[in-house]
Symmetry: C2
Subunit: 112 residues, 2 copies
DNA sequence: TTTATTTGGCGTAAAAATACGTCAAATAGT
DNA sequence: ACTATTTGACGTATTTTTACGCCAAATAAA
């Protein structure tokens, strides 16, 4: 049985630091910023704007997803990524103004 | 000559992600929070409150220092650490409310 | 049905972060 | 002068992160 990994730190610190960690890479900030501009949820050609290989970008995307900051839906071969209000609202609650502009209108409706 | 390491990302993204990265570990958040409570700048027995070995804590302290979020001064064998308004104000500008309470009154005067 | 696109998954190399132990210097206390 | 404290510095083992290349599945296009 995999041990429950005792938390050395209080849960809120743990959670908060996870959020900050997710923001701790320029590529990921760039992706979030980009997604916030495309108020129509855009596909994974985030690749075109991030100066890194596709695989690497995918990894960063996966991390943002894991952190609950973005989500995805598939349309054919393409995948649409958009901001996840669940996570973004956490940031807003923290008052992170850098991302205050981040509100994807078409997200969290049903379009993506 | 060590090459100037071309920046793949825009400077503001780079700088911002560095800040977030510094906040991306529970121990470092704990330290910042602790320092904000001790409005009298307190010494390096941050060790007592962080559930990690002394050397490790020192490393985290060093990172916070590198990020410009804290600073230190020596008194005898002891070292006083306190928040560095230079860095903290950056956070405040970002609107990070978690740390809004962080204002070390006696810091940045001359007491530490 | 072939062929091209778009992705996710897997493996992996290199670098960075994390967590310590040990040691040595500075200084405070006896 | 000797001893104990408090630190920073150094080395190092592990783990994570970062960055890719390659392959395979799904679907769109020819």
């Amino acid at each position: 049985m995999p041990q429950a990994k005792t938390n050395l730190f209080e849960d809120d610190l743990q959670e908060l630091s996870q959020l900050f960690k997710a923001l701790g890479h320029p590529a990921r900030l760039q992706i979030l910023k980009f997604l916030s501009k495309q108020n129509t949820c855009f596909s994974g050609d985030i690749n075109d704007i991030v100066p890194l290989g596709r695989t690497t970008v995918n990894q960063h995307i996966a991390e943002l997803k894991k952190a609950g900051l973005i989500k995805s839906s598939t349309q054919g071969t393409k995948t649409n990524y958009c901001l996840n209000n669940d996570g973004i609202s956490k940031l807003n609650q923290l008052g992170i103004s850098f991302l205050s502009e981040i509100q994807c209108s078409s997200c969290n409706t049903n379009e993506c």
